[in-house]
């Protein structure tokens, strides 16, 4: 039995401890915003937060999150009908095309902005490595800068 906190709720999972967190989230907890893209931690479509830090859930064994706080895209916003500033910025810039990678992009950006509250373009280049097959990178960059402003003005 593996116990952890998932989007602020205590949960338990009983199965192979080696199962990737990604598949546990998607098929056991029915949280399907976290996406499968590559299975080897390359593309970032599966990015979630573990104790607030971005992590690729396709290469994170569920046993590794025992006792930890896991947040998925479904739990990123402070309340059900509200949006996190990164989500707001993503909407303002109409970032998604097919949209498949975007939950992972948003989770990566939300963690990145905690570490780089006023990022330069170089910071983004060095620390945002999620793949977008549709090529929405131009808007992702703008939305990250915009989200930084939203976060700064909130606090």
């Amino acid at each position: 039995m593996i116990s952890f906190r998932l989007n602020k709720v205590s949960v338990a999972f009983e199965a192979e401890p080696g199962t990737p967190l990604l598949w546990v989230l998607r098929e056991h907890f029915d949280l399907k915003g976290t996406k499968f893209g590559c299975g080897i931690g390359q593309c970032g479509a599966c990015t979630v937060h573990v104790n607030g830090g971005a992590q690729r859930s396709c290469v994170t064994q569920v046993a590794a999150v025992e006792g930890q706080n896991v947040t998925t895209i479904e739990g990123l916003a402070p309340a059900d009908d509200s949006l996190h500033p990164v989500q707001q910025a993503w909407l303002s810039h109409d970032v998604p095309q097919c949209g498949y990678c975007q939950a992972g992009q948003i989770m990566a950006a939300a963690d990145f902005l905690k570490r780089f509250p006023r990022p330069s373009d170089q910071d983004i280049d060095q620390h945002i490595s999620n793949v977008c097959r549709c090529g929405t990178y131009v808007r992702i960059r703008k939305a990250i800068h915009h989200a930084a402003q939203l976060i700064a003005s909130e606090s």
Partner: protein, 754 residues
């Protein structure tokens, strides 16, 4: 302008669309209800439906059905915009729902219930342009008729404002929500309703954000991979690693003992030479979770038989292309007298260009749900071609197509990959054999190693110039692996048609033009990859013009403009015709050149490249500025892209497609290539098939729309073809190094080390 004939086409599609129920657009309504009756409180949503596409609720919210697959190209927003415009409602009151596949069996075979469904060739918007506006206009006419009956006045005295029918300029009005119940009972008027003049548009042409994006950013959007059905079991397939290999034997004893594993099944692939219903022979595992299925699949012990392609290799393929080009191929275009013009020419320019095989790699790996029952089937598929999904399931199960229900989901990228429904056929095979509702999941490795790859080819370009530096002869000789490989009823002499579009520029701008084709063989499956052969041909032609200019001391922009000539419609018989106007490319080229300050002298190591191309009816140009360091480090400094798509229905989404297409073109040119060794694809995942990341995309990136007229073209593929040659032309301007082989990879660094 051919509007009249287009309207007729639209009208015909509309009637077909309505033919499902007694020739009218009224869907499943009780006939006893009086036309004048007030909508009753018990009305179901179906009773508030106008035709198949529009439902209006009591608060005035309008749900519009989108009949096309959404693969990221924006049709789920753009098509409802067309309906909303003519229906005359406020855009913020629009909700969109995905419609399933609608086919109706008739004496002459199957016909469409909701209009043609399927997205490819950038036709989603253009083929629905008249139709969807008619859907909105007809519904508006029904609402006006209902109001006129209620008021007992001639309908000619009625008009609309957004969401309301108005009597004689505002004396009285009724909301659509109040009228829809009785309007739904009216017969479709005989005449098609008049459409708005472009000058009256309130919604078309105004930037609108994608209708799905709030669901996307909150993780609620449902893709194929997120779908499920009751009793679902999960499946994965071990496919032959060798092209055309077959299962000789397999041992599933250990695998059947693994936790969660339910069944192991043999999946029969096509024999060598047969058409690809599915891509490969293999063994499937059915389990109680995706992870269990993938794990067990990897643990299968399979012995594969010999394959006729076991020794296929990229090395041999390119060697053969080079050998072929030394001989004589199939002449597929021969304008004027190329030989005479070449022998009279003052100068010859000859270069070869190599374009690799590439994979589609949509970010959502292939997946599909199929439940094959006794006489029916249920399919939930991320697909570009839902009718193909229906055909695939019918073919592998024998179930009649009218009993196969195909639902479409949001699709995590198409790029042409999901024109093929091989993964749907696989899921149907597994469901049929196991008797279970099946969700098939591919891994990324499955996807990269099993694809309908974009064809690779070697192009030999030759130009003859007269004493004044004018190009008087042009020849393109291509040795390639055609996309039409293994298509049914495809004679060898037609294989070139997928790779050379004879009416492409510079035909009809140079008197003597010849195209020659050589069909090379390799066992890789091939298919349509976003803007198919335009990607290769634009790279080759736009690189070659640049080389002609540099080799003969001319300015690349001036030479391009001279070759394009004056603005006039030229005959164009390939997809995207019937005409091609080179003046529209000249305008775009001049525009991007000015924006990037083309004439300004750059410092050493920096340079600008240009390119422009006509793709499937739309026009695009790129100007790219790069720097190349002493050690061969490439930096893309700035990108200016411009598109002329006629009327931009949703400028927001047009720009998105131009940005994304540009990045797709550059990403592919920079690092993507599928190679084969010992009959096996050598790449497997994003570590060795490295899609571009944000660090390579410059912050200075502009996307511009140059409007042309009031007819839209598609936009999904136009942004790609000219991006790669603009980049490689820029690399030449910056470094003097000409890239003639894609991908670019480490060629610049290697040249510095040499």
């Amino acid at each position: 302008m051919s509007r009249a004939s287009n309207t007729q086409i639209g009208r015909r599609q509309f009637l077909v669309a309505g033919a499902g129920v007694s020739g009218s657009l009224v869907l499943g309504l009780p006939f006893a209800v009086s036309l004048a009756a007030e909508p009753s409180a018990a009305q179901t949503s179906q009773q508030r439906t106008l035709g198949f596409f529009i439902e209006i609720d009591r608060t005035g919210l309008v749900t519009i059905g989108s009949n096309q697959p959404e693969i990221g190209q924006g049709v789920r927003t753009a098509l409802p915009m067309l309906v909303a415009e003519e229906l005359d409602i406020e855009w913020q009151n629009v909700r969109v729902t995905q419609m399933p596949l609608g086919i109706v069996k008739t004496a002459d075979g199957f016909t469409w219930k909701y209009g043609g469904q399927g997205v490819g060739g950038s036709t989603g918007l253009t083929s629905n342009w008249e139709f969807m506006r008619q859907v909105g206009a007809q519904a508006r006419a029904q609402l006006m008729l209902a109001a006129a009956q209620r008021w007992n006045v001639p309908v000619a005295q009625c008009g609309t404002r957004p969401g309301y029918v108005v009597h004689q300029g505002g004396q009285r009005e009724l909301s659509y929500a109040e009228l829809v119940g009785s309007a739904a009972l009216l017969q479709l008027p005989e005449q098609s309703a008049p459409l708005k003049a472009a000058t009256d548009y309130r919604i078309i042409g105004k930037p609108r954000h994608s209708i799905d994006n709030r669901d996307v950013v909150t993780g609620k959007a449902v893709y194929g991979i997120d779908s499920t059905i009751p009793g679902v079991h999960y499946a994965a397939i071990a496919r032959s690693p060798i092209l055309n290999g077959r299962v000789k034997s397999f041992d599933d004893k250990q695998v059947l003992k693994m936790p969660g594993v339910v069944q192991v099944l043999r999946i029969e692939g096509p024999k060598p030479g047969e058409w690809y219903r599915i891509l490969a022979d293999g063994v499937a595992v059915v389990a109680n979770s995706t992870w269990a299925a993938l794990q067990a699949r990897d643990a299968l012990r399979i012995e594969w038989s010999e394959s006729p392609n076991a020794s296929d290799s990229s090395e041999a393929f390119w060697q053969e292309n080079r050998r072929m080009l030394k001989g004589k191929g199939q002449v597929v275009l021969d304008d004027g007298d190329v030989d005479a013009a070449l022998s009279n020419a003052e100068t010859h320019v000859v270069h070869q260009y190599q374009v690799p095989f590439v994979s589609h790699a949509p970010l959502e790996p292939q997946n599909c749900i199929v439940h094959v029952k006794e006489n029916s089937a249920h399919v939930i598929a991320p697909t570009q071609m839902p009718s193909g999904a229906s055909r695939a399931v019918a073919a592998v199960t024998g179930i009649a197509r009218e009993n196969i229900f195909v639902e479409m989901t949001k699709v995590g990228g198409g790029f042409g990959r999901r024109l093929s429904n091989d993964y749907v056929a696989e899921a149907a095979m597994i469901s049929k054999q196991s008797g279970l509702p099946i969700k098939l999941q591919w891994s990324r490795e499955d996807d990269i190693r099993n694809d309908f790859y974009r064809p690779a080819g070697l192009h030999e370009m030759r130009a003859g110039l007269d004493a004044q530096g004018r190009v008087v002869a042009w020849s393109q000789r291509l040795a390639s692996a055609s996309k039409y490989f293994r298509r049914p009823n495809m004679p060898d002499e037609d294989l070139w048609k997928a790779e050379l579009y004879i009416d492409d520029f510079p035909r009809r701008r140079i008197e003597n033009v010849r195209m020659e084709y050589f069909h090379n063989r390799i066992g890789l499956p091939r298919g349509s990859w976003r803007a198919p052969a335009h990607t290769a041909n634009a790279f080759v032609v736009q690189s070659f013009i640049d080389e002609i200019a540099h080799d003969t001391g001319q300015d690349p922009l001036q030479l391009r403009l001279e070759l394009l000539g004056k603005a006039e419609p030229l005959e164009y018989s390939n997809h995207g015709g019937p005409t091609f106007n080179p003046g529209r490319l000249s305008k775009l080229l001049t525009f991007v050149a000015e924006k990037i300050d083309y004439g300004r002298a750059r410092k050493k190591g920096s340079g600008v490249g240009l390119a422009a191309h006509f793709t499937f009816g739309g026009y695009a140009a790129h100007a790219i500025e790069v720097s190349v360091s002493q050690s061969g480090e490439l930096q893309i400094e700035r990108i200016v892209a411009a598109i002329d798509c006629g009327l931009a229905v949703n400028p927001q989404s047009v720009k998105a497609q131009l940005e994304g297409g540009t990045i797709d073109g550059i990403s592919t040119a920079l690092g993507l290539e599928i190679t084969v060794k010992d009959g096996q694809v050598q790449q497997s995942n994003f570590h060795d098939y490295p899609l571009m990341r944000i660090e390579q995309v410059p912050a200075r990136f502009e996307a511009h729309i140059l409007p042309y007229d009031d007819m839209p073209t598609g936009v999904g593929e136009m942004g790609i073809p000219s991006a790669a040659p603009a980049l490689t032309n820029a690399i030449f301007a910056a470094s003097g190094q000409r890239i003639r082989t894609l991908p670019i990879k480490d060629q610049l660094k290697k040249a510095r080390r040499a």
